[in-house]
């Protein structure tokens, strides 16, 4: 058990179908996925809206039963031992579901009571967690007075009240300003340093690159790629991307001239993306072809390029 490679979450053929069993009209949100999360890891689940991320998280949180497949968490079966698993999980849902009728501190106290913790333990722990999430000054205030970032931090403090071994975060920074996001990342990183296993969904690629040791990309209920962020970038993209913008009238002609200059070329409504191992060299080649872009930008390939390559660029809704 002391081995850091201990698998804490083991999903095999995990499937979620909404609607009545056997009903042909049922909607398959998660379609037979396999993955393992090890102790101490920060594991990311990436995907567009509707890819099946939240359904996967809800099954891991043992609030939604799996339709098929096996899901073992902390050595227990998620179907049979949901309460035992939930006792050792911390959950940060997508929408803040803090109790608006209670104060900031009361939210932590009563939430701890749901875990059967004593008032004495909770008084001490709530003070510590409010400090950790920088909410001490707001302790006795009504929840309604909190900003979005503070509400999120309170939700995280609440998820830590039972000192969980695994913390599930469903899009933890959606809707937050940059300062609030960075504070949150810093706190999550600190948790990870302390050995807490993090499992998070996000559609911010910078967030995934910042926080995740390993991640899976989901598309239409299936896992389409798995690996460390750097590994995925190396596997699915070339080192650099050259982005070109043209004057409206010249776009088609210029685009045609660029063909063959890069290993992969992608036309977007507003710009042209050329994937390449050396952006500057490609840019010189572009100039030699007599192409005159309005702007030219060479950048490192990012997880966002991987994501868009794998899941397509069109809007999925």
């Amino acid at each position: 058990m002391t081995d850091s490679s201990t698998v804490l979450i083991d999903a095999r053929g995990l499937t979620k179908v909404y609607g009545k069993p056997g009903d042909k009209a049922g909607f398959t949100a998660v379609d037979g996925i396999d993955f393992q999360v090890r102790r101490g890891e920060a594991f990311g689940v990436l995907g567009a809206n509707g890819a099946g991320k939240s359904s996967t998280m809800r099954m891991i949180a043992c609030v939604s039963p799996a339709t098929a497949g096996s899901l073992r968490i902390l050595g227990y079966d998620s179907g049979a031992d949901g309460a035992k698993i939930r006792a050792r999980l911390g959950v940060v849902p997508q929408d803040d579901t803090i109790d608006t009728e209670l104060t900031v501190r009361e939210n932590l106290l009563i939430y701890g009571r749901y875990f059967g913790l004593s008032w004495k333990v909770l008084r001490e722990r709530s003070t510590r967690l409010l400090e950790f999430t920088r909410l001490s000054e707001k302790a006795e205030d009504a929840v309604a007075t909190l900003s979005g970032g503070m509400r999120r931090r309170l939700t995280i403090a609440r998820a830590l009240i039972n000192e969980p071994e695994i913390v599930l975060l469903d899009e933890p920074t959606t809707g937050l300003d940059p300062q609030a996001r960075h504070l949150l990342w810093e706190r999550l990183f600190q948790l990870k340093q302390e050995g807490v296993t993090l499992l998070l969904t996000t559609h911010y690629m910078d967030e995934a690159e910042q926080l995740c040791d390993r991640l899976v990309v989901m598309d239409a209920g299936k896992i389409v790629a798995e690996g460390a962020p750097a590994e995925l970038i190396a596997r699915y993209t070339l080192r650099e991307v050259l982005e070109l913008r043209f004057a409206p009238g010249e776009r088609q002609i210029m685009t045609d001239k660029c063909r063959g200059l890069a290993e992969r070329m992608e036309e977007l409504p507003d710009r042209l993306l050329l994937s390449t191992d050396n952006g500057e060299e490609t840019l010189s080649a572009v100039h030699r072809q007599g192409v005159q872009p309005l702007t030219a930008l060479v950048r490192r390939s990012s997880l966002e390029d991987v994501f868009l390559t794998l899941t397509g660029r069109s809007l999925l809704d």
């Binding site: 058990m1 609030v63 035992k84 939930r86 999980l89 579901t97 009563i110 302390e194």
Partner: protein, 267 residues
């Protein structure tokens, strides 16, 4: 911050969540909003003043009842039973619907070891606690005004608790069928006529037989009979019927409600 030390198999120091913690949550909230409870206590008293005393002056004595029983004495237990019903129903319909839909309170509670059953039982338990407070205060006030004899009338309290249980369970079942806030109009459509007809202000004898049969089926009728028997020290063997009626109604409603909630809250 200390986290769970990595690699150490964690023992479980945590007991599964129990229904009582839902009562603790509500008590915490009522520390901020206790005037709401005050309003609930005063409502039946206002009715008693308006109908018992006001209409009582016109009525004189109640047909079919002992001449020693005044009209306010006839109405008071009915108002208490109604208050116990309304308090419980409001808690598990109106308040609970908000927590189920807009606030998503239960969603976050159910990510803890708490089960749907504990949450449901907890809300019913809280409705009982509220009912006990309202019934006790009401009883004390009416006995100060000489409408009830205290040691004998104490049976009113367990009666109010049983009514609270039955209607909290019925409310819990009702809330699983609600589609929108507009549906509360439908609940009102049932509750108000029941309040007016279930021998609250007139004894059963004043109705023609077909109406009597209809009234005798109503759960509020049995509730009022139960409290009135305790309040006036009358009733003979009848309260047994009311007790059985309310216990069965409560248990069946609760069992079905928990099943239905399980489907809604753990999709």
């Amino acid at each position: 911050m200390t986290a769970m030390p990595t690699g150490v198999p964690a023992e479980i120091p945590l007991r599964p969540g129990r229904a009582w913690t839902m009562v603790e949550r509500n008590l915490m909230i009522y520390r901020h909003t206790w005037p709401v409870l005050l309003a609930e206590i005063f409502e039946p008293m206002l009715y008693l003043l308006a109908f018992g005393v006001g209409v009582g002056l016109l009525v004189g004595r109640v047909p079919g009842l002992d001449a020693s029983i005044s009209y306010p004495q006839f109405v008071a237990p009915a108002l208490l039973a109604t208050a116990a019903m309304n308090g419980a129903m409001n808690e598990t319909t109106f308040n609970m619907y908000g927590k189920l839909t807009t606030d998503k309170t239960y969603e976050s509670i159910l990510t803890t070891p708490m089960s749907v059953r504990s949450v449901a039982l907890g809300e019913v338990l809280w409705a009982l606690v509220r009912g006990a407070i309202v019934a006790t205060v009401f009883l004390v006030v009416v006995s100060i005004f000489g409408l009830a004899d205290l040691p004998e009338a104490l049976l009113v309290i367990p009666s109010a608790l049983l009514i609270g249980f039955a209607f909290a369970a019925v409310g819990l079942l009702t809330v699983t069928f609600l589609r929108s806030w507009q549906d509360f109009q439908l609940i009102q459509l049932v509750m108000l006529p029941m309040f007016l007809f279930a021998t609250t202000f007139f004894p059963l004898e004043v109705y023609p037989r077909p109406v009597q049969v209809f009234v005798e089926v109503l759960p509020l009728y049995h509730s009022i009979e139960l409290v009135r028997a305790a309040f006036l020290g009358t009733g003979g063997g009848y309260p047994a019927v009311a007790v059985i009626y309310l216990v069965v109604l409560g248990i069946v409603a609760l069992a079905v409600a928990v099943r239905r909630l399980e489907g809604t809250l753990r999709p």
